[in-house]
């Protein structure tokens, strides 16, 4: 399906990442946003509040982030595409309902414009320290998909991708911006509506009374219904059977968890998005994401100027983690350097996959600004010594 032209602001614009994210949501067909404004994500909802009503959409400023994260799920089950927008402290409050979205398999998007933390931390300055929270923040076993744009253009493009992935896999999708990308203004090209591919929601063909909300028929993802279409069923965060009713035993639990975990794990290679450059004959691969990936390129060119063979792998999706690709590169004996604006989060995944077979070095940073490329460059040199 192609995008609805009503929501697509075709043309070349000079936008910041936050505003581009709003335009991406509109192009993706999102028509409901609930949120509670928080720096540095406020500009996303400011623009949404101004733009959505004009295309028949709705924005509600909720009493808090807990309410926002559940209001969007109500809207999704009423048939809308929906998202919420926040930053670290608000993201913390949303964790319970991220688990509910995983359990009910509600396709929805959570935008987190990351600032320095913990707690209220650095409201106006960048961090990338919510990456593990995005993956593990709610209790229980589940999987998510997370995107990490590194420019306003990608804030537009990947917001559309996030909505598409949410529909295809019926998972909460995290859009992990950072303050730098969110507040940076650059050229954003928005294509014609018919050049934008939109994943439609898959609705059941079953008649009312016959619909089983969690019947998969051998697929990973069951079809949905819209409230008001005459289907009655029970929705619960409790472990449930195909009808959606609570069933409290190990067998039902196994069936439930197995699917919500493996629908992502088994499809990881189809979900993972990487941008790679000069990896094949590299001795060292710099792995990075978000704003850090741009700074890393500067460090890479410094190292290359000295004849060091360095490649770059950018995680466009951070979750699921590209295990298979990293494992293959580690098997080839390549070393890894990973800068991120935290004290080692995605790096733990890298280490888990590399398993000590080659060198993997972290370039930590507490956040508040971006890395000095010189520091990454020195780590690249250390990795080849």
């Amino acid at each position: 399906m192609k995008a609805d032209p009503k929501g697509v602001m075709t043309g070349a614009h000079f936008l910041d990442g936050d505003h581009a994210c709003c335009e991406g949501a509109l192009a993706a067909g999102c028509r409901f946003v609930a949120g509670y404004p928080i720096t540095p994500s406020t500009e996303v909802v400011e623009r949404i509040a101004a733009r959505f009503p004009a295309v028949g959409g709705m924005f509600i400023q909720m009493e808090d982030e807990i309410a926002s994260s559940i209001a969007i799920q109500g809207a999704v089950w009423a048939g809308a595409k929906a998202m919420t927008v926040t930053s670290g402290p608000g993201f913390s409050l949303m964790m319970e309902h991220i688990g509910l979205a995983a359990m009910l398999e509600t396709p929805c998007v959570f935008v987190n414009v990351q600032r320095g933390g913990p707690s209220t931390g650095l409201p106006t300055l960048p961090g990338q320290a919510d990456m593990m929270q995005a993956r593990w923040g709610s209790h229980g076993d589940y999987e998510v998909i997370a995107f990490c744009p590194n420019s306003p253009q990608e804030c537009f493009d990947l917001t559309i991708e996030a909505f598409n992935m949410a529909e295809i896999y019926r998972v909460p999708v995290m859009l992990m911006l950072d303050e730098c990308v969110g507040h940076m203004t650059e050229k954003v090209v928005i294509p014609e509506a018919d050049a934008i591919e939109i994943a439609e929601r898959r609705f059941t063909g079953a008649k009312p009374g016959e619909y089983l909300p969690y019947e998969t028929n051998g697929n990973w993802v069951p079809p949905m219904v819209k409230a008001g279409d005459g289907h009655y069923f029970h929705m619960t965060g409790l472990t449930h059977d195909e009808r959606g009713y609570p069933v409290m035993n190990a067998e039902a639990q196994e069936k439930c968890v197995h699917r919500i975990v493996n629908k992502i794990r088994e499809n990881a290679d189809a979900i993972v998005r990487l941008r790679e450059a000069e990896i094949e004959d590299a001795d060292v691969v710099v792995v990075s994401y978000g704003i850090t990936s741009r700074v890393a390129l500067k460090a890479i060119s410094m190292a290359q100027a000295e004849g060091i063979k360095v490649g770059h792998m950018r995680l466009v999706t951070a979750w699921p983690f590209p295990e298979n690709r990293i494992r293959r590169l580690a098997d080839q004996g390549k070393a890894f350097v990973m800068p991120e604006l935290n004290y080692g989060q995605m790096y733990l995944e890298l280490e888990r996959v590399v398993q000590g077979r080659t060198r993997s070095l972290l370039v930590p940073h507490g956040g508040g600004t971006v890395h000095d490329p010189e520091v990454i460059y020195r780590k690249i040199k250390e990795a080849v010594q």
Binding site: F14, D16, T124, C180, M184, T185, E186, R294, K298
Partner: protein
Amino acid sequence: MSATEIKFSGFGGQGVILAGIIFGRAASIYDNKFATLTQSFGPEARGSACSAQLIVSEDQVLYPYVTRPQILMAMSQEAFNKFLPETTDDATVIIEEELVKATGLKPGMKLYGIPATRIAEELGRKMILNIVMVGFFTAVTGLVGYESAREAVKDSVPQGTEVMNLKAFDRGYQYGKELK
């Protein structure tokens, strides 16, 4: 790689950020260069010296922040005093000459001044001084084309104010051309 780092500065309410946006838009949309604009947020941006930072380049901008501006635009004394020490030794310094007394310039620096507030007042609206500055800036730096900057002004100002703003732009531009 040829990148130019620019700092637009003044006090809050002068339209400093808009000046940066117009120039970034002109460079990236109309001149097809790469332009990355960042600005300070939070308490540090609430004082009397506020700024927008712009990098214009032939290639993608990798490091997003301005570290040593080659061009400084200052519309207030405080902004001038605060940001001049950050500039390169051969920086181009562009000032609102009735609001800024330029002292402490290094020998390699080039200084251009314009009474932008007075010109804006002559045009009937004091608040368009930033657009006068943008016109002046376009003329003396030559970093973006005249037409590109003009189009960017048109795109960036509130609807219904285009004529007045373009007049302001042209006055600033003329003043700059005559000075050069």
